[in-house]
């Protein structure tokens, strides 16, 4: 763990959708390792590195809120785009929202704050000039300045995440008193295995005094 980073992220709302409840979205109680990885990648990522989330600290009490919105049901079909391209015109290639409307509720988290503790590993795509130190420096520099590739979000893009680097020598933010004790959060998405047909992997999340230790993706605790 010589290459660890700690990033404080917080926001008004968050929605880390449970895969079993994604039509009327219901958020997990806390951020998933996969969403945490996405936030880190929004700040710095190269194919040469892979972020590994080690620990998640939950700083605020877990609260929910429900929001219902008009959404679009369908997706854009590649076949119709190909057709329009061949025809060289765009008319006929539209989606009329009134004909394709779904009202969906989302049960989202309110007022969240987490500390993501992570490190990265080099991937087979790393070249000679890619050292862990180099990427660590880039990440720290960017996180310190508030730079990012795109604004990171808390699960979905309408809930932007504010972020701040927690420096090596500064103290650990303390979780809220409500979170003391041990809580079993049940099976939670760890991450998606993109190399193998996008297989989701799950792990049993326990929160002890606000801290969730994330097992390694390839570990025995993680089930695909």
């Amino acid at each position: 763990m010589a290459y660890g980073i700690r990033l404080l992220v917080w926001g008004e709302r968050a929605c880390f959708t449970r895969p079993e409840m994604k039509v009327e979205r219901v958020s997990y109680d806390v951020i998933t390792p996969s969403a945490a990885r996405g936030i880190l990648e929004a700040i710095h990522w190269k194919p040469a590195i892979r972020w590994v989330v080690d620990r998640i600290r939950v700083l605020k009490p877990i609260r929910f809120e429900s929001i219902r919105r008009n959404e679009v049901g369908g997706k854009l079909s590649a076949a119709s785009v190909t057709k329009a391209m061949k025809a060289g015109r765009t008319d006929g290639l539209v989606s009329l929202i009134e004909d394709d409307r779904q009202q969906r509720a989302a049960t989202v988290l309110r007022d969240v704050a987490y500390v993501i503790e992570a490190h990265f590993e080099l991937t087979p795509r790393a070249e000679a000039c890619d050292s862990e130190g180099k990427h660590l420096d880039i990440f720290n520099r960017r996180a310190r300045k508030g730079q990012c590739f795109h604004a990171p979000c808390l699960g979905v893009r309408e809930f932007p995440a504010c972020f701040e680097l927690i420096e090596e020598d500064s103290s650990q933010p303390e979780p809220h008193a409500d979170l003391l004790g041990e809580r079993d959060l049940g099976w939670m998405l760890h991450d998606i295995d993109f190399a193998n047909q996008m297989t989701p992997h799950f792990f049993r999340a326990f929160m002890r005094d606000g801290v969730i230790d994330v097992p390694p993706f390839t570990g025995v605790e993680v089930k695909a």
């Binding site: 008004e12 709302r13 609260r63 809120e65 429900s66 929001i67 219902r68 919105r69 008009n70 959404e71 679009v72 997706k75 854009l76 079909s77 590649a78 076949a79 119709s80 785009v81 190909t82 057709k83 329009a84 391209m85 025809a87 015109r89 765009t90 008319d91 006929g92 290639l93 539209v94 989606s95 009329l96 929202i97 009134e98 009202q103 509720a105 309110r110 960017r142 300045k145 508030g146 730079q147 990012c148 590739f149 795109h150 604004a151 979000c153 893009r157 309408e158 809930f159 932007p160 504010c162 972020f163 701040e164």
Partner: protein, 294 residues
């Protein structure tokens, strides 16, 4: 069409007088409220819809034919006029049975073509039913929910109608209806524009200017019985010198304050004059410039 090369954040203030800015389908079309704070809410998708509608209006000719490169993919029927609809029916392109592009290059080509032709795909992104990553466009513009500066109190207004819809109700003579309004609310929204994602969709400086115009004027073309009087009040844009940005977004947002200046702080505000919006220009970090479009 070269893509933008700077990161932007913006703070957008709009207000509503005696209207419903965004109804909540869960609460019988009452204006959306944050149950914890009683602040009003306007969802991100509501604002995006209005941006799309404005662009569709500005970039189409008298017959409703959109200008090349500014077609809107997610359309509302009400913004299309009849001639427009006839044109679509006449030129209806028959969809083929679902076929997926085999290779990534093909998918990329499709995506690029969509981005070139459709403003909303270029700005907000779109999901295509391809199993390849290139079939998903993540747009550069990200918007968050707008919340009202102070708590709002929705009023329920009962109204009567001097006509009936069904013949069997003839003896009733009149029917009652309901409207929900907010007497006054000033809303604040935050937005983010990533130069790096703009590179991928080709979101250009001209598109950006169009976005600012849309934010400034979208309520002017969105009048309806439900909306009351809505107006864009301030649009404060932070431009970073480099693509990755020069300062944390939340620090920039904190520089913009909306304060009550007229009346006691805990009494209801009733007009924009009751507020003062200030930008702490002194404290803007190095490498970031502020511009006020409204």
């Amino acid at each position: 069409m070269t893509a933008i090369t700077n990161r932007y954040e913006f703070v957008y203030f709009f207000d509503v007088t005696n209207g419903n800015p965004n109804g909540d389908p869960d609460a019988g079309n009452l204006p959306r409220l944050d149950p914890e704070t009683n602040q009003g809410l306007v969802t991100d998708v509501c604002l995006k819809r209005k941006i799309r509608n404005y662009v569709a209006l500005e970039k189409s000719d008298a017959e409703g034919k959109p200008e090349a490169g500014y077609v809107i993919y997610m359309q509302e029927k009400s913004v299309l006029n009849n001639q427009h609809k006839q044109a679509y029916e006449a030129l209806k392109i028959e969809p083929e049975p679902k076929k997926l592009p085999k290779d990534e290059a093909k998918a990329r080509e499709l995506t690029a073509w969509m981005c070139r032709n459709f403003f909303d795909v270029r700005a907000f992104g779109a999901v295509m039913t391809t199993e390849i990553n290139a079939g998903q466009v993540r747009g550069p513009i990200q918007m968050a929910f707008a919340t009202s500066v102070d708590p709002v109190v929705p009023l329920e207004v009962s109204i009567t109608r001097m006509a009936v819809t069904n013949e069997k109700d003839l003896e009733k003579e009149r029917t009652m209806g309901r409207k929900h309004i907010i007497p006054y609310g000033l809303y604040r929204a935050h937005g983010f524009i990533s130069a790096k994602l703009a590179e991928r969709t080709g979101f250009s400086d001209a598109d950006l200017e169009l976005l600012w115009r849309a934010l400034g004027n979208m309520f002017e073309h969105d009048r309806s019985a439900a909306r009351g009087e809505m107006a864009a009040r301030r649009l404060i844009v932070f431009k970073h010198e480099c693509a990755m940005g020069n300062a944390p977004a939340h620090k920039l947002f904190e520089l913009v304050k909306a304060e009550r200046v007229e009346g006691e702080a805990d009494t209801p505000a009733r007009s924009f004059a009751d507020y003062r919006i200030s930008v702490d220009a002194e404290s803007v970090p190095v490498g970031v410039s502020v511009r006020e479009y409204i």
